[in-house]
């Protein structure tokens, strides 16, 4: 499966557009991570506990989007976008979406 955030795939031609595919996940920070990140934040720098949480969320949302693309029979997802929103204090949603397509090599 080719996944890109461009509107086309260089070297390939879009044969069929199958429609929008999406995946989301809402995750909350846990107390342990919050406590460690709070201590680290005294001196600033990367808060790896939160970065990891965001990475896991992105991976899960992307996987859900790709599962939907596979169900539709796509071999590529183009124009992928991510967005986040805080649904409540300490919890946020990560949403991934794109367009499932069938592509064939050019020429």
């Amino acid at each position: 499966m080719i996944v890109v955030n461009t509107e086309s795939v260089a070297g390939y031609r879009i044969q069929k557009v199958l429609g929008l595919v999406q995946g989301n996940t809402v995750r909350a920070k846990n107390f342990g991570r919050d406590f460690l990140a709070g201590l680290k934040n005294i001196v600033g720098g990367e808060l790896s506990e939160y970065t990891e949480l965001l990475t896991e969320s992105r991976q899960q949302a992307t996987q859900r989007m790709l599962d939907e693309a596979v169900r539709l029979g796509a071999n590529a997802v183009i124009n992928v976008r991510y967005s986040t929103s805080a649904v409540t204090a300490g919890a946020a949603e990560l949403y991934a979406y794109g367009t499932a397509v069938q592509i064939v090599p050019e020429g």
């Binding site: 080719i2 996944v3 890109v4 955030n5 461009t6 509107e7 086309s8 795939v9 260089a10 070297g11 390939y12 909350a28 920070k29 990140a37 709070g38 680290k40 934040n41 005294i42 001196v43 600033g44 720098g45 990367e46 808060l47 939160y50 970065t51 965001l54 990475t55 992105r58 992928v80 976008r81 991510y82 967005s83 986040t84 929103s85 805080a86 649904v87 409540t88 204090a89 300490g90 919890a91 946020a92 090599p105 050019e106 020429g107």
Partner: protein, 154 residues
Amino acid sequence: MEALLGLLSVGSLLFVGWYWGARRRAQHRESLTLRERELQHVRVSNSKHYRGAPTHAPQLVSVELVWGIDRFQAFLAALVNLFGGELESVSEVLARARREALVRLKAQAHAAGYDALANLRLETADIGNDPQQRDLKVALLGIATAYRQLPSDR
């Protein structure tokens, strides 16, 4: 006595933030400059289409980053906030966090054998703020498509 202890603990947190925060910032800037130099061959654009080498299928690369602002810088930002004006300490952290995100995207592309990034998008992410607003932090989400440049474009 209690007020004095409280003042001392706040003062020591500010001191730790000021001292270690400045050291960490300097180290980070140095490491960024080094990595940026190593990866300068990776071409970056935010155009929505790209002409890449057809023999190499493109690949999505993405990065997440949550960056904290040390207590001393946060204190300065709170002071500026009283009178208005640019929150220079926060601007600097955001600019540095964006540089870090871009370097990580380039490193991912380079490790997978690509030499160009197209349609780069770097956005701040909303991750649910601390209700008591004790800590200042910024979250970034970056995404791009990694390509292999055509020999004529290199």
